[in-house]
């Protein structure tokens, strides 16, 4: 057998792996457990950010709410300063 042939067989053998059938289930179980733990917390900042970043309408709504709150604050400040 030639060197290159042996190398190719070794290379091919290294490409072969046995993945256990339940690998995906194990990962998904861990994920569901993680999510369960997360939902027990009162406010999950990361989940909130995930939801916002995944949804364009939510992003727009978030910006609009921010702008309205900001403007209200500015108007309120002026009102206080001018003594209304």
């Amino acid at each position: 057998m030639r060197r290159q042939e042996v190398y190719d067989i070794w290379n091919k053998a290294r490409e072969q792996i046995d993945v256990k059938e339940d690998f995906t289930d194990k990962v998904m179980n861990q994920i569901f457990l993680y999510e369960q733990k997360k939902s027990k917390t009162f406010f999950d900042y990361r989940r909130f950010v995930d939801l916002i970043s995944a949804n364009l309408t939510a992003q727009a709504a978030f910006v609009v709410v921010g702008a309205v709150v900001g403007l209200t604050r500015v108007v309120f400040m002026f009102a206080v300063i001018l003594g209304y």
Partner: protein, 179 residues
């Protein structure tokens, strides 16, 4: 469904769709880890950690900067490096099966070749080994390996070439010895 679409939907609350990504990439990820640490028992645990870490930080994945598989390989690589820093790997990998040949001495020689190649692979410096494993066993293009490693393509090429030289030296030694 494209990776980016799946990610978008997972982030939108369809957690169960992450299964598609695990199914798609479990093979390459586990193989990469196995070929790096040579410990079949630990490889699967690390692969699980890789997918969990990917899930937890999925919102930070930027599809404009890299594709999902590259991002996943970066996570896997970092996990492997952390493990190798903490402890020396325990080699529990079995040698690949030697295909049957008409000539029994051929089998013996092939086994000897495999032994030597495995030995060299295990003793390669980690940077050379990472580049070599990703190129030879994962068949990734140099540009993607460079992205995973965070180096230039030229650096990847030289790492792979150094690794191959070491393997070639072993093969030529044996060539003179028994073939």
């Amino acid at each position: 469904m494209k990776d980016t679409d799946v990610i978008h939907r997972v982030l939108g609350g369809h957690i169960d769709l992450f299964k598609l990504l695990v199914d798609r990439y479990q093979g390459p990820v586990i193989r990469f880890i196995q070929n790096m640490i040579h410990d079949n028992h630990t490889s699967e645990d690390i692969a699980q950690d890789v997918f969990m870490a990917a899930y937890k930080t999925l919102s930070s994945f930027d599809s404009h900067r890299s594709n999902f598989s590259t991002w996943l390989f970066v996570i896997a690589r970092n996990k492997i490096l952390n493990l190798l820093k903490k402890r020396r790997p325990v080699f529990t990998n079995q040698l690949p099966e030697v295909p049957d040949s008409q000539n029994p001495s051929d089998n013996l020689m092939t086994k000897e070749f495999f032994n030597r190649l495995e030995k060299i692979l295990r003793t390669l410096p980690v940077k050379q080994k990472t580049a070599f494993v990703l190129a030879e066993f994962e068949k990734l293009p140099y540009a993607q390996i460079a992205e995973i490693e965070g180096v230039r393509i030229g650096t990847v090429k030289s790492r792979i070439s150094r690794a191959k030289k070491k393997l070639a030296a072993t093969l030529s030694e044996l060539d003179g010895d028994i073939l």
